[in-house]
């Protein structure tokens, strides 16, 4: 017990960040499961973080409500920009959402209420490890169930072939927007939790590199199952600590190591780590469910 307490004292903040990053990774997983490459989820997390932080600090809104409101604002923003933006496909969608992310970042730098480039300072620390992992568990369960629902099947169809999905009766615009908004909502929750964990949020944290990082979690972990992005977030968040333990100091080298891992995964494990893990250890279970890819692995 004492050992556990000691472990938490040393690694508590790492454990918290793993949880937050896992929720963020899941927010992008939703969008990716409809085949939509969005680089806007970091910005949605930013909107959630700033909105909830401002509500708590300036308006004394209770913590749970400000988290929900932050996520809600993210979702509404996604709905508004999603309608025009989701008409684009592939790389064009990625570029449009990336531009949106920059708009959010620059707005945060230039507005007074967000604290400008300095960031929003003095947000009460209300988020605990239990809350983070409670939210992560709830999100994971929700998305795992969603996968087998009508929504999940529609998203999978759209990802595989949008035209075929359309002639099978799937309202593709509706489901694409739904995935985008749901992703933004989850990202908003993660951002709001982060704001109330970290005391301070700054515009730079939700920029381009954060957006790409979320994508990397999904690629390394794999999007075959809802556990893939969580695994990716865990490995890539814990890695700098592990490297430090091995005597390699962080800094510029950290990004280099991330890059090498990403390359190795893309070349040797193109379906992500979870695909190979589940093949190796869960093959019996997969066989029972007919070995389907869409049905939960």
């Amino acid at each position: 017990m004492e050992y556990l307490a000691q472990f938490y004292a040393v690694y508590g903040s790492l454990i918290n960040f793993i949880g937050i990053n896992a929720i963020l990774a899941l927010s992008l997983y939703v969008t990716l499961s409809a085949g939509q490459l969005s680089l806007g989820n970091a910005a949605f997390a930013g909107i959630g973080a700033y909105a909830s932080g401002i509500l708590t600090m300036n308006f004394n809104v209770p913590y749970p409500i400000s988290v929900a409101a932050g996520a809600g604002l993210s979702a509404i923003t996604a709905l508004v920009i999603g309608m025009p933006v989701l008409r684009m496909r592939g790389i064009f969608l990625a570029m449009a959402t990336l531009a949106f992310g920059e708009v959010v970042r620059i707005a945060a730098v230039n507005m007074d209420i967000t604290g400008g480039a300095q960031g929003l300072v003095g947000i009460p620390c209300k988020t605990t490890t239990y809350i983070i992992y409670g939210v992560l568990a709830a999100t994971t369960y929700f998305l795992a169930v969603l996968r087998g629902s009508k929504i999940g099947w529609s998203l999978a169809g759209i990802r595989e072939d949008e035209t075929a999905a359309m002639v099978m009766g799937i309202n593709t615009s509706y489901y694409k927007t739904l995935a985008f908004v749901l992703g933004a909502f989850i990202a908003g929750i993660a951002g709001a939790l982060y704001a109330h964990l970290n005391f301070i949020v700054t515009p730079g944290e939700f920029g381009f590199s954060a957006a790409v990082q979320l994508l990397v979690y999904n690629i390394v972990g794999g999007t075959q199952s809802v556990y893939g992005p969580i695994l990716g977030a865990f490995i890539l968040t814990a890695l700098p600590e592990a490297l430090r333990g091995a005597g390699v100091t962080a800094g510029s080298l950290r990004l280099g190591v991330n890059g090498v891992i990403l390359l190795l995964v893309i070349i040797y494990l193109p379906n992500g780590l979870i695909f190979y893990l589940s093949k190796k250890y869960l093959s019996k279970k997969a066989g029972r469910s007919g070995g389907t890819v869409q049905s939960e692995v």
Partner: protein, 252 residues
């Protein structure tokens, strides 16, 4: 009248793909659509399934105008199709392809699933059995667990038909369904299509295999440069002078 084309026109840029196409498809029949390459057959199927809107003209399904509806709503009216260049969900298993095709018919509501209600299991089993029977009708149930991308060409065509059947269609649009199939497979498809028609499905069929078309269709429409050349029984069409001219050219 089951399906009625009224002066349907559609052009792409300056090229007129369909001009004033008019004909009718009777309920419970197999209607053939033939014509040389580029005569507008696939465009016409795209118009019916809602992927391409016509520039002018009307399309009536059982008296209801459907030419302005989006594709997903036309599908909801019971119109299913296959594609000339096969569009499967390649990373899914055959069974999952068909289950995905049940979109409009199986509820799969989210909330009972979140609460793990017993009704969900029943629904899943029912949906799986339904999907298996679609696979069986298309003669591909032995590949249910195989990933669609790994199938042979003929198997892919069958799977696409099985997926279309998952919609329980009243109108089935088939764009060259037997292209690349062996003789035995063609015979199986023939009896499948006949059994579908017996079950009340109407089929609009594009095919280049003339003996197949002549055996199967009760009426045939010939398209040429986007215009309807003629509509008639296979016998009438086969001796129609303009059809012979369009296909074989004029003896000089």
């Amino acid at each position: 009248m089951f399906l009625q084309f009224e002066e349907i026109s559609r052009s792409f840029g300056g090229v007129s793909a369909l001009s004033r196409v008019s004909f009718c498809v009777e309920a419970g029949t197999i209607h053939g659509l033939i014509g040389p390459n580029g005569s507008g057959k696939t465009t016409l199927i795209n118009v019916v399934s809602g992927l391409t809107g016509p520039d002018s003209g009307r399309l009536l399904l059982e008296g209801r105008a459907i030419h302005r509806l989006p594709a997903y709503r036309i599908a909801a009216l019971g119109v299913a199709r296959t594609f000339q260049n096969i569009r499967l969900f390649s990373n899914m298993t055959c069974l999952d392809n068909v289950i995905a095709g049940q979109h409009g018919r199986v509820g799969r509501a989210l909330f009972p699933r979140l609460l793990r209600l017993p009704s969900v299991r029943l629904e899943e089993r029912q949906s799986r059995e339904d999907a298996m029977s679609c696979l069986a009708r298309a003669g591909i149930e032995n590949r249910a667990g195989a990933v669609a991308g790994s199938l042979s060409y003929g198997e892919r065509r069958r799977l696409e038909i099985a997926r279309a059947l998952a919609l329980s269609p009243r109108l089935l649009l088939l764009d060259e369904p037997i292209a690349g199939m062996r003789q035995r497979e063609i015979e199986e498809m023939e009896s499948l299509f006949r059994s579908l028609v017996e079950a009340g499905v109407t089929i609009l069929l594009i095919e280049h295999n003339m003996p197949f078309i002549m055996r199967l269709c009760s009426s045939i429409t010939v398209l040429h440069f986007g215009e309807t050349l003629t509509t008639g029984t296979p016998k009438e069409v086969a001796v129609h002078p303009e059809v012979i001219e369009a296909y074989l050219g004029v003896r000089g």
